[in-house]
Symmetry: D2
Subunit: 275 residues, 4 copies
């Protein structure tokens, strides 16, 4: 009989833990957490600055105050008395299609547009070296198609930031570290084509990360995982703050909830009482 459980991630044996073949004790102190996150996700340790890039992404995503449904939710859950990890987990559940998920949709589009998309579980191929005008051409095709379909492009625009400071910084780092390659360039080109059509759309942090993770040859299906790890930090800190600074049971007041349903009405009789 085969085992109920199998994995290619980590091997545990008495007094030994190996992540993708590497002794965890050897990784500790010699490699950054960003390196190890990259190792877990891609199967390999970085050969260049990939781990530093992951660290920058983790820092970028660590917290955005209570101005995020996940964080507000986690604090409310904590106020019910839930333990720290469970309240943080409640917030993490929120990180779906409309809350970080944009990076996934965009990464998918980028990888398809550059022919790097791979089947689930395989690494995307290396991005082709393309001249600027070819990048621009592919961006234009994406933009035209989205405009024709009246579809909003994921990874652009932000409710608070006209110019997302995290995007700017990620671009500078990618350029400095030789990681500003086709996918991220394509993201920027899409923004350019939008502007050229009179629809300026600033690349948001999800958009920048989608470009970087694709350039790092990571399956778009795992993109939101980086956000989960990053934001776990902020959520833990918020839940802790909630529990030490505020009173329990943080509920919206009944008088601040607008009721839109039917008015008072009597329960109709039934000849099967209780049914």
């Amino acid at each position: 009989m085969t085992s109920f459980w199998s994995t290619a991630l980590t091997q545990v044996r008495p007094n030994e833990i190996r992540v993708r073949g590497y002794d965890v004790a050897e990784l500790m102190g010699s490699r950054s957490f960003g390196d190890v996150v990259y190792l877990l996700m891609s199967g390999e340790l970085p050969s260049g600055r990939e781990g530093a890039m992951v660290e920058a992404i983790l820092v970028a995503g660590a917290d955005h105050s209570v101005a995020a449904p996940s964080t507000a939710a986690a604090r409310l859950v904590a106020s019910g008395g839930a333990p720290l990890q469970a309240a943080a987990a409640a917030g993490i559940i929120a990180l779906d299609a409309h809350h970080g998920g944009a990076m996934e949709a965009l990464a998918c589009m980028l990888q398809e547009a550059l022919g790097t998309a791979a089947p689930p579980g395989e690494r995307p191929g290396p991005a082709p070296k393309l001249p600027d005008d070819e990048i621009r051409r592919r961006a234009a095709a994406i933009v035209d198609e989205a405009l024709a379909a009246r579809r909003r492009l994921p990874g652009f625009g932000h409710p608070v930031h006209k110019r997302d400071p995290r995007t700017e910084r990620l671009r500078v780092l990618a350029q400095e570290w030789g990681l500003y390659v086709p996918h991220f360039r394509l993201v920027d080109a899409i923004g350019g084509e939008m502007a050229a059509r009179g629809k300026p759309a600033a690349v948001n942090v999800d958009g920048a990360i989608a470009g970087i993770l694709s350039d790092l040859r990571l399956d778009w299906r795992i993109s939101r995982g980086f956000y989960v790890i990053a934001r776990a930090a902020g959520l833990v800190a918020h839940v802790y703050e909630q529990s030490v600074r505020e009173k329990p049971f943080k509920a919206p007041s009944w008088s601040e909830i607008e009721y839109l349903g039917p008015g008072p009405r009597p329960v109709p009789c039934t000849d099967e009482p209780g049914r």
Copy 2:
């Protein structure tokens, strides 16, 4: 300024709680939980046996032992020391597309095939009165299309039960209570057409519930909600049992986990130690 929160479900005022306009105190003891679940989901109290049908569905879905990923997961989570409600919640998260979600996909198909589908948030229309051969014709169309596309039809087949005892019973109750109407009949007709094509496919409990909920004019998008409420009961009971009967930290043994990754390898040097 408008309120941050609004709802048409329940109105709370000092000393008064009204669900869809009905005083909760008046509902208690005079109406079943099934009636109130139906009220919450549809907006109205049942006029006939709809609430009894909901109760039967809740009983059907209450527990399926540890032979379900949700229940096994909830027990593992409880063994880490998580409080009862949080461990049950972990199990509930599992009730997605492959674990009860079939009822949603099927209900959607049924409502489209019978022209009852409504936009999100609106109730599906009343099912048309159709003769048996017209039901059969629409079933045949669904089956042919699925076979041509080599697509598995949701709501049929079960890893354990060749004949799902819950399906049989739900059908009998629906017939007795005058609720065996077009959607459930269409489910059975699909099964019949599969068999007629030499691909016998027994209606499973998800399939039966998809039919009933559609006959009760409930949006297919909320179908899994009934399963969530039902299985909450079993999950609570399992988590409690886990915590009172077993030792903490129920982990698969390292020796029973097959490791499929790369063998031991040294961490390569880097000239940027710690990065």
Copy 3:
């Protein structure tokens, strides 16, 4: 070797599902969901109106609008795009010590005061038949001890309801159905002793349920489970409403969040860049 999994709750075999020995198909339609919840929690089917009492408790707890941290949290999580069951689960995580958990603390006190408390996993003993003045005496002892320790008694008072309509109704039903026995009487007597000391404290719905569940001989450690099942209904309905009525990403605006931390400051230099 023994099995990794064991349970005394439900037995699954091909074409057969038995809850505590009872065929689930036989339970469906002949027994209420309240009966089956009672069966799962206590091990036995009700012999009297216990299941009807459970149904009334489930109706009482089904929804309290957005005026509860769990519900507000679940709606926020849904707005991130999380699937229905996962958003409801996020809300359920909140149902801890300060959000329904009061019933657990009070049930524990009641069972100890009446000598019915049992070890985890066993049913509390039947409540002794006690005359009113003996009930009053034990209530007085509990109140005096709490006042001396300046400890708030769980199960009394409510942020919105001076007189909780659910409490009143549960008392009437318990009396009608012959289930107004020592634990619930003790709850009321505690309220009376508080009032007699000039500290009127209305029994809230958690207090009433704590009394009833104890009278039903249910381990206080499982009390919150009833609330989990009940509120699952309201949470599912709210999450559905959120997803069909509102726009995605429901976040508090940055301008409505008070920031209390240190002002802007430059990142100090470090001689280990990137560390």
Copy 4:
């Protein structure tokens, strides 16, 4: 009126995000994720190697294969079709008292024994400089008390590792980086005193982390948060692997679940059918 929300963690304004006063764009690329986690938790950026120590802790906790209830649970939940972040969250819920929580209990003991414990939300005081024999004396007191009370000391022993490789490595790093100070020394001294009494107890990874976090002057109440952030990485990787490598609905087989409850029995009649 005051704001419903307040926080001292992060300030968001248009085009600006400041964590504890520091511009997030300035932190990105110049500070490690470990530095920022330390900043979120303590309020200050590290002045020495504290952030590197946090990174080592995050690497240590990143994954332990399926040999942990959290990971097994997350994979089961993923198999139901739950989205990546929700399945990872289900696993995170498990990280309670018996699954990483030991570090919290031990950190509390250490901070009390060294007089550094602070009220919730405040930083523990700096550890006093104590000679070895005073450390040993306090360790002996802790051990004697635990043995007398037949209480198991948290942070010692492991189901798989006799000598936990992560503990050894954390000790070496702490020593190298000048962070092997009183709390960690006290953990080791407790191990020594246990051995001296013929009860050898190896410091496990939770024990080492409890010592380090206390030496970093972090409130013991937030300890498990570090584990949550670390393990989020492993959980994300496992959930992804589950979804790309395995079939849906990973359920224990009915034949491998031992049933311990009552045998088949008929549902007794009731004169209130359906109740």
